[in-house]
Amino acid sequence: MYEGAVQDLIDELGRLPGVGPKSAQRIAFHILSADPADTTRLSQAIQRVKDTVRFCVRCWNVSEQEECRVCRDPRREPSLVCVVEEARDVVAIERTREYRGRYHVLGGAISPIDGIGPDDLHVKELLTRLGAEPVAEVIIATNPNIEGEATASYLSRLIAPLGVRVTRLASGLPVGGDLDYADEVTLGRAFAGRRDV
């Protein structure tokens, strides 16, 4: 245990995701010995993100304005909505530069163990959007795990009766990888989802 302020800082850092007690201690001592200008910038950045960043009223992506950058962009195709779990998934898909539609961030996945049901996600908001916007296809891009699959199947049950096309991202082999390095589950899914060439 360290004295007051140092221990407080270690405790706070240790609460961050992916940071264990050892890392928290290392970061705390780094901050302690860092240039005051650097630490000021860090604390201001943390403060500013809480003060200025909020969620897009349309898609729940992080945004500094009423609507996020994607929703404001008139070049984006309004008939396509890609549903993701977290805002960081939007960034991941944006990096591909393949997708020209809009997004909808759920804020998680259905997981009874964690006490998360459909009401805790932005599902109602999605349905409202489908009624108000000219959406022709919803692409469900939740994670390919148990909770992501359950969420996808829940959404497709809700959306399909509305006459909107519902699709799910394919799972399969990583590009540039070797076949014999793929785990069997992934390889099995890739087989199940094979297509004509």
Partner: protein, 391 residues
């Protein structure tokens, strides 16, 4: 496949030990509580991801130490040399390395080393709870097809989620319960999908085992009665093991699970637990026409348990490398005739490690290793070849 070297560091009663092994029979000799079983347990743990004696890895680490290392050298049937290394910690996750490379998930190391272990505890497969028989099938399937271990743990995850939802729904008011019901449907469908994969694989295993078990039992037992294996699913499916059958169709299983779940829906809401699925299935073992669990003599139960384990050798050897056989304290439990029959079987396998308290119990030629414990630390001593072979 051959195990050419075992190295243990702070594992159970071993401080630092290295043993070189050859093909054929190796008998580990020593009085009880010297560390013979610890050696086999370490090999079994590395192969299957679990110990046959305890759950969890902590007990594997030598008392007072924080880290135990199991290091194994293998030679595949194609002659390729491989290494498998486990670092077992008391305070952290077990780290596994295959051929010097860290594996991302411990399940990725399954199937690198293939073993069939038979130990006195295995009589519980015949006499014990259904859970013992489910584990028997699951262990076999995970070794035969590593993807099964992943499918099984996905099923467990879905089951946990669904049970959780059932528990939550019990405390809800009527309107909230309707909302929960919509989500429950989704989890029920997920459960059906994953349950079908597990059940289909288990039924395939029962078919693959059936002929072998029947044959080896009649080899081992005094009264050569027929053995019948029946997979009894909580979904209302009973499937009798038939060597002419293979992997069953998914659709009938899916329908059975879905129908059975619909039938118990009210009961499930009331008891807040999933009542249908592979976690509640059983494998019925019949000797002649009688259930072995309740009607077998001690000798019959032993012969059947041994026949089941020996059959897993055959089922594993059908695909991929032939497994290494580990026989823990088995010969002492058998009479003269059965010892001779088991010894004949040992002659057919590439490599067999046998533990025995009394050397004369084992009518087998082959290498002898003496296991001794002094001051709480076990050691293994190779006997000169000329002195070996008590038979």
């Amino acid at each position: 496949m051959l195990l050419t070297r075992i190295e243990l560091q702070d594992v159970r009663s071993y401080a630092a030990t290295a043993v070189g092994l050859d093909a054929g029979v190796t008998v580990l000799v020593g009085p009880n509580a010297q560390g013979k079983t610890n050696l086999l347990e370490a090999v079994h743990r590395a192969a299957t991801g679990g110990s046959h004696r305890v759950s969890g890895d902590q007990p594997l680490v030598r008392a007072g130490e924080e880290l135990g290392v199991i290091r194994l050298e293998l030679r595949t049937d194609e002659g390729r040399r491989r290494t498998l290394e486990l670092e077992v910690g008391t305070s952290r996750r077990t780290r596994t390395r295959v051929d010097g490379q860290d594996v991302r998930r411990s399940s990725d190391a399954l199937g690198v080393l293939r073993v069939v272990l038979f130990a006195p505890e295995d009589v519980a497969i015949v006499r014990g709870d259904p859970g013992e028989r489910r584990r028997f099938l699951d262990d076999l399937l995970a070794q035969r097809r590593p993807a099964y271990a992943a499918a099984r743990s996905e099923y467990d995850r879905v089951l946990k989620q669904r049970n959780n939802l059932l528990k939550q729904a019990r405390h809800l008011g009527p309107s909230a319960r309707d909302a929960a019901a919509a989500t429950l449907d989704v989890w029920t469908e997920q459960l059906v999908t994953h349950a079908t994969s597990v059940i289909a694989a288990r039924i395939a295993a029962v078919h693959a085992l059936a002929g072998h078990v029947d044959r080896s039992y009649r080899d081992l037992a005094d009264r050569p009665e027929r053995i019948r294996l029946t997979y009894r699913s909580s979904a209302g499916l009973d499937v009798v093991g038939d060597p002419d059958e293979g992997v069953p169709e998914r659709e009938p299983i899916e329908t059975a699970v879905r129908t059975a779940l619909a039938e118990v829906a009210g009961d499930e809401r009331h008891r807040a637990v999933t009542l249908v699925g592979p976690h509640r299935d059983d494998l019925d073992l019949d000797i002649g026409e009688l259930p072995a669990r309740s009607h077998s003599s001690h000798g019959e139960a032993w012969s059947l348990a041994l026949a089941l384990k020996l059959s897993t050798y055959e089922v594993l050897a059908e695909v991929g490398d032939r497994p290494i056989v580990l026989l823990d304290d088995v010969f002492a439990e058998l009479d003269e005739t059965r010892r001779g029959r088991l010894a004949d079987a040992c002659g057919r396998w590439d490599q067999v490690l046998v533990t025995a308290a009394v050397e004369d119990d084992v009518p087998l030629e082959g290498a002898r290793l003496d296991v001794r414990i002094e001051g709480g630390i076990s050691s293994v001593h190779t006997r000169p070849a000329a002195a070996g072979g008590a038979a």
